[in-house]
Symmetry: D2
Subunit: 94 residues, 4 copies
Amino acid sequence: MEESQKKLLARVKRIGGQVAGVERMLNEKRYCVDILNQIAAVRSALDALGVELLTRHLESCVLGHGSDNEHPEAKAMSQQELLAEVKTALSRFL
Amino acid sequence: MEESQKKLLARVKRIGGQVAGVERMLNEKRYCVDILNQIAAVRSALDALGVELLTRHLESCVLGHGSDNEHPEAKAMSQQELLAEVKTALSRFL
Amino acid sequence: MEESQKKLLARVKRIGGQVAGVERMLNEKRYCVDILNQIAAVRSALDALGVELLTRHLESCVLGHGSDNEHPEAKAMSQQELLAEVKTALSRFL
Amino acid sequence: MEESQKKLLARVKRIGGQVAGVERMLNEKRYCVDILNQIAAVRSALDALGVELLTRHLESCVLGHGSDNEHPEAKAMSQQELLAEVKTALSRFL
């Protein structure tokens, strides 16, 4: 498995662990503000994962359009369509 | 278990399932933009959970300061300190 | 004018200046990434203004429900309605 | 002036007007929750401006690296450096 894929998987596993932590804190009736801070931490970790994935997509599929690194799904699209797709994905995050 | 606690737990379990879905999509080498959309959905679910928890905290600990609904941790604080704490928690989210 | 009102007005004036800065940068055809960083700064300043206003609202109208500090518009509502309103406002931000 | 530049300027002018609206609402001591909703609207408009600018940057400077559409500042950079810069800009927004 390539390096960047390993890193993304490690990130998402860590996020899964953080969400399990939030569930545990709720069950233990921990103080609401402490749980909120943990949720804010998960949110930051998710955002960082999103930025990582989007950058990889720009590199391998938008800039790498036509190359071997490209995902099969991107092959059928024009660069203009890929850009429009990135724009929509960004709007969902912001 | 009280109703609002059950709902919060159901929400966090659903978020855990969504994160597991992101991991699966990464493993199956699904198209990056589809994974990004799933991450944006998890983020919205987390935000909704945060809003829910914060409102419950305002109700039971800030407005309910001094009542039986209050979390033990909030008892020792003044309402002024509770407000300052809410302000800090909000800043972490925004 | 009370102190907190002065501070809020100073903040919003500063934000107006920052937005004028973005317009100037666009007109001067400055580098996109520099403009993006300026936009991110305006966004943070807006978020801080929102947190400030929301905390003031919690203090004067939700906790201060029934007191002289309360805004006339809040007088007619119950604390339960005020909380529901705060929840909706939070959802718009998150 | 090119079309996309005109649209960006129109957007930023509209945002300036919205910020002036927030200042007016503060001066008129309007209800806090109404001001908060206006601030949330400015924030959405800023995010949309950010997405627009970033997409233009990807098109003209990252994909268009080496072409005439590229901003002078981007010419000196490699595509790898441009990508790293986009990643940093994204992290500031998310």
